[in-house]
Amino acid sequence: MSSIALRKKDAFAVVAPPAPASSPHPSAAALTESAARVAARSRARPAPTGYRRAQAPDWLLKAVASVIGFALFVCAWAAIAKFGGRIPGPAAVWDAAVVIFSDPFYQKGPNDQGIGWNVLSSLKRVGIGFGLAALVGIPLGFVIGRFRFLSDMAAPIIAILKPVSPLAWLPIGLLLFKAASPAAIYAIFICSLWPMIINTAVGVQQVPQDYLNVARVLNLSEWKVFTKILFPAVLPYMITGVRLSIGIAWLVIVAAEMLTGGVGIGFWVWDEWNNLKVEHIIIAIFTIGVVGLLLEQMLMLVARRFNYS
């Protein structure tokens, strides 16, 4: 494997939980407004019953815009492929994708498996690394958020380690575990840890004083304060931490697997590069994107469930 310069931009950020969706959906407002206008008009002119100005529904406009955007993207891609030499065009990639996705779970030895297995083993690594990070990071975030002294203790360490690319930890992982897969999981663990700690801690510090006052005037037990007030109040922040962590983990796993090899979507990308199957690399890029999108959407759904504003 020739050495490559891997550059990864990782962006950790403390992000407040999704802004309270207090304002109604803009389209809903627009709809009621137009409904009011229609009503006003029909009051003024009682004659034509059932008359309505044709207006495309909001979702349709959105869908049309998405389709046009995607079509333009494919056109640009086709143009680049036509004049740019080695890049395969959309049609070639589509044909290759049909072949690949018609049998995603084949297995011909450890280094030749279907794309389904590759994605699943990457997801498994992300799941384990992320799960361990949640087990460590969320309780740690709680105590750091609750106790000022611990927060001051942890601050410099987090500040120094947070901006480090998780891939820099990979050699340490290889040294510790002497195997590729645990080292990749270790890198995921490290990169998932910081957003989880930081967001949970911020969440704990942001618990409204009003709620804590309720706990104080009722003299609630520590356990009740935790289960009825702290935990539910921090949950949206925790979910934001989880969402950031998973997003970063999914970015990192591809690069980590390129370096460690084995099975996984990142390894697959590198393997197909060595085989010079560029169509497959493009398929991998789309697959990684779609899986990342699905993960994000899933967590958004969870976040919405726990949004109480």
């Binding site: 009003d210 006052n213 309720v214 005037v217 009722l218 009740k224 009825k228 539910p232 504003s309």
Partner: protein, 263 residues
């Protein structure tokens, strides 16, 4: 006089970055059992601070307070507090919000069915039995505040502390809730200390109106006995000469003796 709540020479000084800030000084007040006392004054006069002191959320830097023969040393469920912004926990239903308080106070000695009955009774008292299973965000501002009152009264406190309970409501809802509070207080015989900046509310509801001077170093400027007979009726009082006189006294205190320059 039967002094149920006794506030003696209480002062409160906050340590700020710019040095000590004297919020309250020399506060002396005695409240009888079953009495309804309002604290009124311009914003920043420390009336909420005084209520928080009685609630035990703050500790006075001078003086002491005694409630029903025991010194107030911290917050506790013997005082039911209704906060201005309702402070309901948004992830709990109205029922669960009240039940949390009931369980805390009676959970150790009463069976679960009794706790549930208490919670339901409290919600019925404020006319919200039908909304018991709704989340706070699903009910109106006035209803939220009623749940807050139910939560405070469900624990059978020695004293009810209201911190501008209707301040965030519109005028009509406020009037309805005031009438409701009159009814609830006369039914339960609760001892009440209420912070308000609404002159009509103070005179309509109270047995005594405690008028506070402007801060810093605010103290009690005057105390007005509201000797209007009960039950009081909003419409009848609107033209009652005694009511108008008492109301005028409070207004005179606020806008003449303690006139505040426009901020």
């Amino acid at each position: 006089m039967d002094k149920y709540l006794h506030i003696e020479n209480v002062g409160m000084t906050f340590e700020t970055k710019k040095g000590p800030f004297v919020a309250l000084t020399g506060i002396g007040l005695a409240v009888k059992k079953g009495e309804f006392v309002s604290l009124i004054g311009h914003s920043g006069c420390g009336k909420s601070t005084l209520l928080n002191l009685v609630a035990g959320l703050l500790s006075p830097t001078a003086g002491g307070m005694i409630l029903a023969g025991r010194e107030i040393a911290g917050p506790g469920p013997d005082r039911g507090v209704v906060f201005q912004n309702h402070s309901l926990l948004p992830w709990l239903s109205c029922h669960s919000n009240v039940h949390l308080a009931v369980e805390r106070v009676f959970g150790a000695v009463e069976p679960k069915a009794k706790l549930k009955a208490r919670t339901q009774a409290a919600l019925e008292m404020v006319g919200l039995a039908h909304a018991a299973d709704k989340l706070p965000q699903e009910v109106s501002g006035g209803m939220k505040q009623r749940v807050g009152i139910a939560r405070a009264l469900a624990i059978e406190p020695k004293m009810l502390l209201l911190d501008e309970p209707f301040g965030a409501l519109d005028a009509l809802t406020r009037a309805t809730l005031q009438d409701e509070l009159i009814r609830i207080v006369s039914n339960t015989g609760a001892t009440v200390l209420m912070v308000t900046h609404d002159v009509d509310e103070a005179v309509l509801l109270s047995d005594r109106v405690v008028m506070m001077t402007n801060g810093p170093a605010a103290t009690i400027g005057d105390v007005l006995e509201v000797d209007l007979p009960r039950p009081r009726e909003r419409l009848a009082l609107a033209t009652n000469a005694r009511y108008i006189h008492l109301r005028g006294r409070v207004l005179e205190f606020l806008y003449h003796r303690q006139a505040k320059r426009a901020a």
